[in-house]
């Protein structure tokens, strides 16, 4: 056996170009489906893990995929908002913890997730520097955001203006970095966290300014005994500082302050089921189970993947046929060699064994190359789930 192996090896080495091309073709034909399969498996696992950890999401009626993707992965969406009083009303029930979410703004392209301390506790976010953002105007950064922007506690981060040329919109808010969270390998690493009240400042619903009674007369449009109308030119603070923090207040009914969605964390499965039924029956909100929504979404994706798997299978099959043709033609070219072997007394099967072993060697090397390339691809690709 070792003699045939030696001959097969030497023949392959003597025809380097042909052998290399064959190895490359087989490796490529294996690499594509293996990588796609591994990636799909990773996405499936990671996306489901995120969804499995989140019992329920509640939001305005509408597209449930948008709601789920926005709440879990902070994807931009055009969701209708939910008034804060709905969270307070639902919270009165006591058996479910509701976590507010507001995701309508960005800071240097990163989503600003305005929420409450319960979100941080629920997701297990731990500060690796500084502390949680508990005050108006403070933010805590996900690990990737801090790394990409080179920020740490004490630094400042500006929100992105929503309408660059609309001076009636609130200006960008200069926020203080209170802390940086440890990396979790989830979309939380790519987010900027703050308290939900800071989002209301970004919305322009809450702001701070000098007392209305003491404002420069040139900015006063009209004045009566118990009221004053102030010009929109009055400069609103673009930063919450220790000096001006006490002046910040809300306009309008605070119960109507907007949220993008809420996470619902029930004490038991039964409480979750009852809550979901009650919310969906009422009709003014919708409650979705993230696992079910993501399964639906992945089902569509994997149906498409199945098609590409089929195409990959054809590719592999075609490659196999072409490789077979090459070896077949090669065996014709080696007729003299095989006749020599026969004449020196080698068994009949040696000829077939030589070609077969050479094919096996090519497959093994190609397989190893494809495996290595797949592993390298998976290592080099960015974590697309956390940046989903």
């Amino acid at each position: 056996m070792s003699g045939i192996l030696f001959l097969a090896w030497r023949h392959a080495a003597a025809h380097r170009a042909r052998t290399s091309i064959l190895i490359a073709c087989v490796a490529l034909a294996l690499w594509v489906p293996w990588t796609a399969g591994a990636l799909a498996g990773q996405y499936d696992q990671a996306l489901r893990a995120r969804a499995d950890q989140t019992p329920l999401i509640i939001g305005a009626p509408g597209n449930r995929y948008d709601l789920t993707l926005a709440a879990l992965y902070f994807r931009p969406s055009q969701l209708e908002t939910v008034p804060y009083q709905e969270l307070e009303r639902l919270q009165e029930g006591g058996k479910v913890t509701f976590v507010p979410l507001h995701m309508r703004f960005t800071a240097r392209g990163n989503p600003i997730v305005a929420t409450s301390i319960e979100y941080v506790e629920f997701r297990g976010l731990q500060p690796v520097a500084g502390r949680h953002a508990l005050r108006l105007g403070e933010v805590a950064l996900g690990a990737e955001v801090a790394l990409a922007l080179g920020l740490r506690p004490g630094d400042a981060l500006l929100s992105d203006p929503t309408e660059l040329y609309d001076i009636s919109r609130p200006p960008a808010l200069k926020m203080r970095v209170a802390g940086v969270y440890r990396a979790t390998g989830t979309p939380d690493d790519g987010a900027v966290f703050c308290d939900v009240r800071t989002a209301w400042v970004l919305e322009g619903i809450a702001h701070g300014h000098a007392p209305a009674e003491g404002i420069d007369e040139s900015l006063v449009l009209s004045r009566a005994e118990d009221s004053v109308a102030v010009s929109g030119a009055l400069m609103e603070y673009a930063e919450v500082t220790e000096e001006n923090e006490d002046t910040f207040h809300y306009h309008g009914d605070t119960a109507l302050l907007p949220l993008s969605a809420m996470l619902a964390i029930p004490a038991s499965r039964k409480d979750g089921t009852l809550l979901k039924s009650a919310v969906n029956a009422a009709g003014d909100l919708q409650a979705v189970t993230p696992t079910a929504v993501i399964s639906d979404l992945l089902g569509v994706v994997f149906r498409i993947k199945a098609f590409f798997d089929l195409v990959g299978g054809f590719l592999l099959g075609t490659t196999a046929l072409l490789v077979s043709v090459v070896f077949l033609l090669s065996s014709r070219l080696r007729t003299a060699e095989l006749r020599t072997l026969d004449r020196i007394g080698a068994p009949r099967r040696v000829g077939g064994g030589l070609i077969g072993l050479e094919a096996v060697l090519v497959l093994l090397v190609a397989g190893a190359l494809a495996g290595g390339a797949t592993a390298a691809t998976l290592r080099l690709l960015p974590d697309l789930v956390s940046t989903f």
Binding site: W9, A13, L87, E88, Q91, G94, T97, F98, V99, S116, I117, E118, E121, R123, G124, L125, Q126, R131, H132, A133, L134, R135, L136, S168, R182, A183, T184, G185, D195, V196, R197, A206, A212, D226, S227, V228, A229, V230, S231, G232, L234, V240, E245, D246, F248, H249, Y250, H251, G252, T254, V365, A368, L369, G371, G372, A375, A376, L378, R379, D383
Partner: protein
């Protein structure tokens, strides 16, 4: 040999690739609420929390005497509140810092939610708008709702229901002697005060007594004196108003009640020039060595004793 080396390298690459590609998501344990306590920042909250779960499980996070409308929690106080099983607060009207601090909504009980919409008292409101935006009223709502015995009972029911539910399962200390009885005693003291006044008005420097006066049917005249404690004279309009009120003999009880901090300089002036004897009335809003009900009841009793005919 060269080919063998190449194969070895390839095998190493495959083995390296088979290693774990990315760190798994940090399996950080979710932070646990290790403090089975109720955090409080005001006198009324402490009173009601102690009545529900016992004083031992009440954690004061504001310093004694810190004024409700001006106190702002530091980082330590915020950490104490978010790590407590429950935070009991009055609400945005009495404690404006709540609008700027990120307390956990699921663990925060606001006593003001127990006050029905139509029971709030608004005085001296100042409305403003910004450009074409929505109007907003500043400073017009009187925050001292706990001084009304009926509203205090409603707050007690709300806090009791929420606190017992949140802390059940923890070791229960016996709550102090019945809150209902003590509120009844306070209410009786207010009725006695009203009877002693017999239709005469009380003159006060601050709107803080609005709710207890409304409950007891006592007429209240407020002058809104603005004193900065430096001895400088107060606002002229308030002084004129005070003088006019003082001049109405028989229409008032002859006392100037200070629900806020008593200014000795002005108190002496009011005594000498207007014949008004100044009296402190502790509304029990801040944290102190004595609880809110004790302070309210004693203040009402002292005021009654001061205006009773000799």
């Amino acid at each position: 040999m060269g080919t063998a080396r190449t194969l070895l390298h390839l095998s190493a690459l495959v083995l390296a690739g088979c290693a774990d590609q990315q760190g798994s998501a940090d399996d950080a344990p979710k932070s646990s609420l290790s403090r089975q306590v109720v955090a409080v920042t005001s006198g009324p909250a402490e009173l009601l929390a102690a009545a529900s779960v016992g004083q031992a499980r009440v954690d004061r996070v504001a310093p004694d005497g810190a004024p409700l409308d001006r106190w702002r929690p530091d980082d330590q106080a915020l950490d104490a509140m978010i790590s407590a099983q429950r935070v009991l607060v009055l609400g945005d009207e009495a404690e404006p810092w709540l609008q700027r601090a990120g307390l956990p909504p699921s663990r925060t009980t606001r006593l003001e939610a127990a006050v029905p919409e139509g029971r709030w008292i608004e005085v001296g409101s100042f409305t403003h708008t910004h450009g074409g935006g929505e109007s907003h009223t500043h400073g017009g709502v009187v925050a001292e709702t706990w001084t009304d015995p009926d509203l205090l009972r409603a707050m007690a029911r709300r806090s009791d229901e929420q606190l017992r539910r949140a802390l059940e399962g923890g070791e229960a200390a016996p709550p102090p002697a019945g809150l209902e009885g003590r509120i009844d005693a306070y209410a009786a003291e207010l009725k006695a005060l009203a009877a002693t006044l017999d239709g005469r008005a009380l003159i006060a420097t601050h709107h803080g007594m609005e709710y207890l006066c409304r409950w007891a049917g006592i007429r209240l005249e407020v002058t809104e004196l603005e004193l900065d404690g430096s001895g400088a004279p107060p606002n002229d309009a308030a002084v004129r108003e005070l003088a006019e009120l003082a001049g109405l003999e028989g229409a008032h009880a002859g006392v100037l009640v200070w629900p806020g901090r008593l200014d000795p300089t002005f108190a002496e002036m009011a005594q000498q020039e207007l014949g008004l004897r100044s009296l402190d009335f502790d509304l029990g809003g801040t944290l102190s060595d004595r609880d809110t009900l004790t302070r309210l009841t004693r203040s009402a009793a002292s005021l009654r004793a001061a205006i009773e005919p000799e």
